[in-house]
Amino acid sequence: MRGDRVPVATPLPTELLRLTECEDGPVLVRGARVVVDAQGVTHPVTRPVVALCRCGASQRLPWCDGVHKRLGKRETSTG
């Protein structure tokens, strides 16, 4: 259910991008000028490094808004 809200597309040229996957968190993207979200909407990148949400719970998709931390906690506390 969550997976389909997560941004899947990254802009070209991909060889210039540096991606860092943060465990239980977003993917950090350096070198992008725009980010294309799962719906195909283009978002300009204005920072040297942006965090793309991978949990799907952010209210600011495609950006991470930190809410994955709550998610992680809930999941570990219930199971």
């Binding site: 943060c22 950090l28 040297p48 942006v50 808004d65 930190g66």
Partner: protein
């Protein structure tokens, strides 16, 4: 900015010496340096004295000769006050840090991410209050309290840049570049904060409300100023920054919700809106790249880094306790209440 009103003998000696240095004021100031009084972390007179002295490194004061920054009596007084602060803070935090160290050596990322919930767990949440119950007057007080740090946002942390090695330096600059607007002066975070103040009828000049700040606000400010003034404490600056970033994204969202509930203009909350996304990225960079690289390159920096992180969380918790205590009783959290806001 103008020199603030003194709050006791130490701040009087400092303010008078800066206003009109003379052999007499010099002698007076030297006694501030030498008089030890336990309990500086609760002593608003000595905290204000130190805040004024540290301010010479940042902004100076109107009518005060900038050269006085390196005046011997000034330096001696600051060194002494900071030694008192160091002694008290370290006595409080060394046991906590010792306890955290083995875990942090195994899993630095996990330990750092868990710190806000562990160290500041009992502190009340101003941002939750903002979302649910804050009045417009309390919103203005919140800005006034935060103006001590936010109108010079990022500046104290930038002092760490020349003092840490390559990889950590690069990552810290990545964060700082964003704090300073990513090349766009209108996106400077301190500027966004100034706009938020103006939007609710407040003066945005730095220190314009210094007389209203209660002791914990001064403590929080001079603690970071003490770390930022010393090369040896650069890892503590990094730890402090990491906790700032880590406790910003979600609370900023609550502040935005609160401002919207109150019907405040966009300029009043754009600062917080910006921090939701910015700090969600910064916290990852701070933990993984700045702290990660710093400790990997020199494991001996870890205890100092943790002192900075724990101290930052602790002093911010004291601010929240004081403020929420006042607000829950319907009082002002400021020493001197503000003029009521007359919305345009």
């Amino acid at each position: 900015m103008h020199l603030p009103q003194p709050r006791g003998p130490s701040s009087t000696a400092v303010v008078e010496h800066l206003r009109q240095p003379s052999p007499g004021s010099d002698a007076q100031l030297r006694t501030v340096g030498l008089e030890r009084s336990p309990g500086i972390t609760n002593d608003e007179d000595r905290l204000l004295a130190l805040w004024v002295l540290q301010g010479l490194n940042y902004h100076g004061y109107s009518g005060v000769d900038p050269e006085i920054e390196w005046d011997l009596a000034v330096v001696q007084a600051r060194t002494q006050l900071e030694a008192e602060l160091e002694e008290e803070l370290l006595a409080a935090f060394t046991p906590v840090v010792e306890e955290l160290l083995p875990e942090a050596r195994r899993d630095l990322t996990g330990t750092l991410f868990s710190l806000p919930d562990r160290v500041a767990a009992s502190a009340p949440s101003m941002s939750a209050w903002a979302r649910s119950s804050m009045t417009a007057e309390q919103w203005r007080e919140m800005l006034v309290l935060r103006s001590a740090s936010q109108l010079k946002e990022a500046d104290p942390h930038t002092f760490a840049v020349p003092r840490i090695p390559g990889r950590a330096k690069v990552a810290l600059m990545e964060i700082q570049f964003d704090e300073y607007g990513s090349g766009d002066p209108s996106a400077l975070h301190s500027e966004l904060f100034a706009q938020a103040m103006t939007a609710v009828g407040l003066d945005h000049s730095y220190g314009g409300y210094a007389d209203t700040w209660p002791a914990p606000v001064l403590l929080s400010n001079v603690t970071l100023g003490w770390f930022a003034g010393r090369s040896r404490w650069a890892p503590a600056v990094v730890g402090h920054l990491t906790m700032v970033e880590m406790t910003s994204s979600l609370p900023s969202k609550f502040y935005v919700a609160g401002a919207r509930r109150l019907g405040l203009p966009e300029e009043a909350w754009r600062y917080f809106d910006e921090h939701v996304e910015a700090d969600a990225a910064h916290e990852q960079v701070a933990v993984r790249d700045v702290c990660g690289a710093l400790v990997a390159d020199d494991p001996d920096t870890l205890p100092t880094l943790l002192v900075g992180a724990v101290a930052g969380l602790h002093v911010e918790g004291l601010v929240a306790e004081l403020v929420m205590g006042a607000w829950e009783q319907g009082r002002s959290a400021l020493r001197i209440p503000l003029h009521p806001w007359v919305a345009a």
